[in-house]
């Protein structure tokens, strides 16, 4: 179902929604815009395409206490942190980040295995997306199977028509939001305008990569000197992976004493030397060569095998934020020549 909301009404709507939901949206933090919890609609920055941090923290917090324990007179007391208390609303997620969330769904919540912490937050969250009228030069969603107006993964999808947003409900959660009296009927002309915006945005974006060929090339490159060249400038930090909306590796740590403590889950990254360090002291990925290779292989080869999806959604955060300008688009382009 499609409706429309005037921009002048949007903050009133959000102020009303804040009574029922914890609200997460793009907002200013120091000198940049990032995805974080907000307490007033005025905090939202509407024109930011790629937030510094993706919204993955909403579903997989960087540091999450899984449970805590205390030793009391009646023995050991365990408190689980499995369930969140309030419903959540993510407002203004971009299609690339939603594609990333769909990859994480396959990791954390399948018919066989379910991570209750992730699944609970996912069930408790309504996701409102917004299309990208003016993609950035670092955006490449279309190269990796996405698009600036892809709607899968969203409960409600907004298109910025200038004075108003066209809103399309895609799930029951979305219908619930659309039932608000702040939305009113949209016209055929609005839908036509939305299609024109999509067409204009697509003109700024690159063509689809030949994923099958890239995967075949990668399979032949395990022992190639190509990786020595790629890793030469890599400094081995965690920027590209920690700020990637798809990357979701974690490490579980017990912290505390015999009297009290907690089990904590932290994000981890394959780019750290300690990531694969085994208790024996052996490290199967001992140098930068194996670690940069792992990042590319996982995103453009292994995910395709295990999930039938790429592990890259083309948001361009790693491109923008790499301290040494290692550009994943360039690396992928060079893969063919290196084979």
């Amino acid at each position: 179902m499609r409706k429309k909301i005037d921009k002048a009404q949007i903050n009133t709507l959000l102020a009303a929604l804040l009574k029922d939901y914890e609200l997460y949206a793009p907002a200013r933090e120091a000198g940049y815009v990032t995805f974080r919890q907000i307490r007033s609609p005025e905090e939202i920055v509407w024109d930011c395409l790629v937030t510094r941090e993706p919204p993955k923290d909403v579903f997989l917090p960087q540091t999450e206490v899984l449970f805590s324990y205390t030793r009391g007179p009646n023995g050991l007391e365990l408190v689980s942190n499995e369930k969140v208390q309030r419903e959540r609303l993510v407002w203004g997620m971009r299609p690339c980040d939603a594609q990333a969330l769909l990859v994480q769904d396959v990791v954390f919540d399948t018919s066989k295995d379910c991570d209750v912490y992730f699944a609970n937050k996912r069930a408790m969250t309504t996701v409102v997306g917004i299309g990208c009228n003016q993609p950035l030069s670092t955006c490449f969603c279309t190269a990796v199977g996405g698009g600036p107006f892809r709607k899968d993964g969203f409960d409600l999808f907004l298109t910025d028509l200038g004075e108003a947003y066209l809103a399309e409900a895609l799930t029951e959660k979305g219908e619930r939001l659309l039932a608000s009296p702040f939305f009113h009927a949209s016209s055929k002309a609005d839908e036509k305008a939305a299609r024109a915006l999509e067409k204009a945005a697509l003109a700024h974006l690159p063509e689809a990569m030949d994923v099958k060929t890239i995967q075949q090339h990668l399979d032949q490159l395990i022992t190639s000197p190509f990786w020595d060249e790629v890793q030469a400038s890599c400094i081995g930090c965690g920027v590209c992976t920690l700020l990637c909306p798809v990357c979701h590796c974690f490490d579980i740590v017990d912290e505390g004493t015999a009297a009290c403590g907690q089990r904590v889950r932290n994000w981890d990254t394959c780019q750290y030397c300690v990531y694969t360090l085994e208790a024996s002291g052996h490290n199967p990925r001992p140098s930068g060569r194996e670690r940069v290779r792992q990042r590319l292989m996982h995103k453009f080869d292994y995910y395709l095998v295990t999930q039938g999806k790429l592990g890259c959604v083309g948001c361009g955060r790693c491109v923008q934020l790499c301290p040494v300008n290692l550009d994943i688009r360039q690396i992928v382009n060079e893969i063919g020549a290196a084979t």
Binding site: T63, G238, L243, V253, P323, Q330
Partner: protein, 315 residues
């Protein structure tokens, strides 16, 4: 600054053709506006890809540790040469293994300041004399160079290489009178304000360790923060974990940091890192008259033990 590019390529080509070095560490054109990428020329023809300009912001000295036992040439600004000297003073780098192509530096441009000063995405930027010409989809404007420099560059007292085997061009004149202007801004706050400022800055940290990885002086085989048994600080992005990391990192660099700002440039969360190290450097300068990376035979004061210095530690 672009005039250095030709001289740099010629020198790199000569060194590689002669076989006197195995690699020339420099910069190549970046893939984005306002970026240059660290580049490793290994064959004489690679030298053609070397460039120099106002976006060569990384401290390349951090790569030298990866060429131990090999002869490497490095393109180095003033701060990079100070890191090289500091590494040599700490016996991490033999003088005869590195050939320094020194570049007098006019200060590097802070791409984040530029991005905030313009009305849209920057699609092209080039230096024109004392100005930066910036273009986007619907705008074109000029910004004075002096207004868009990195803070560490604005305050820099060593824009010229302190050590080099060849110097490309004439030394530049100093523009800074106060190397610690950004330290004083924080020093002038009340203790409560300082604590609040530090906590707020540290709270944005995501523990990506880009600051550590970008730093030439963070060469420990195992960083204290990667040690798991025992674990020295909390593992998560909690106040204790983040502040513990920030304090530990800064303290380990006391008298070893050259104020190059590489840590802050690498930080994706734009955390004010240079004031922390700057404060420690300022203290060492005031207490011991010590400046990091200017003399080959001078160790950082905190790395020296003198049996007769007494309980005042020589202050």
């Amino acid at each position: 600054m672009r005039q250095y590019t030709e001289a740099m390529r010629k020198e790199a080509k000569r060194l590689l053709a002669e076989g006197s070095v195995q690699v020339v560490i420099g910069f190549a054109e970046g893939t984005l506006p306002m970026r240059a990428a660290p580049f490793f020329a290994r064959k004489p023809e690679d030298a053609e890809r070397l460039i120099w300009g106002p976006f060569c912001e990384n401290n390349l000295a951090r790569y030298l540790r990866e060429y131990k036992g090999k002869k490497a040439a490095i393109v180095a600004k003033g701060c990079d040469t100070r890191s090289i000297v500091a590494l040599m003073a700490e016996h991490q780098l033999p003088r005869d293994q590195v050939y320094i192509i020194g570049v007098p530096c006019e200060g590097m441009i802070d791409r984040r300041i530029v991005a905030r000063r313009v009305p849209g995405e920057v699609l092209a930027a080039r230096e024109e004399g004392a100005e930066l010409e910036v273009e986007g989809q619907d705008f074109a404007l000029r910004l004075p160079r002096s207004e868009v420099l990195y803070r560490s560059c604005s305050a820099c007292l060593h824009p010229n290489p302190v050590l080099s085997d060849v110097l490309l061009g004439e030394p530049v004149e100093l523009w800074s009178q106060d190397p610690y202007v950004y330290v004083r801004e924080v020093e002038n706050k009340s203790p409560e304000e300082r604590a609040a400022y530090f906590s707020a800055e540290a709270s944005r940290c995501i523990r990506c360790y880009a600051c550590r990885q970008a730093c030439p002086m963070c060469y420990c085989e195992e960083c204290f923060v990667d040690h798991t048994s025992p674990r020295w600080i909390e593992s998560g992005v909690t106040p204790a974990g983040l502040q513990g990391w920030q304090i530990g990192r800064a303290y380990h660099l006391t008298g070893r940091c050259v104020d190059c700002g590489a840590c802050e440039r690498a930080c994706p969360e734009e955390i004010d890192l240079v004031y922390l190290n700057g404060k420690l450097n300022k203290d060492l300068r005031e207490l011991y008259g010590f400046e990091t990376g200017v003399k080959l035979d001078e160790l950082p004061p905190l790395a020296v033990f003198l049996p007769d210095e007494g309980p005042d530690f020589g202050i």
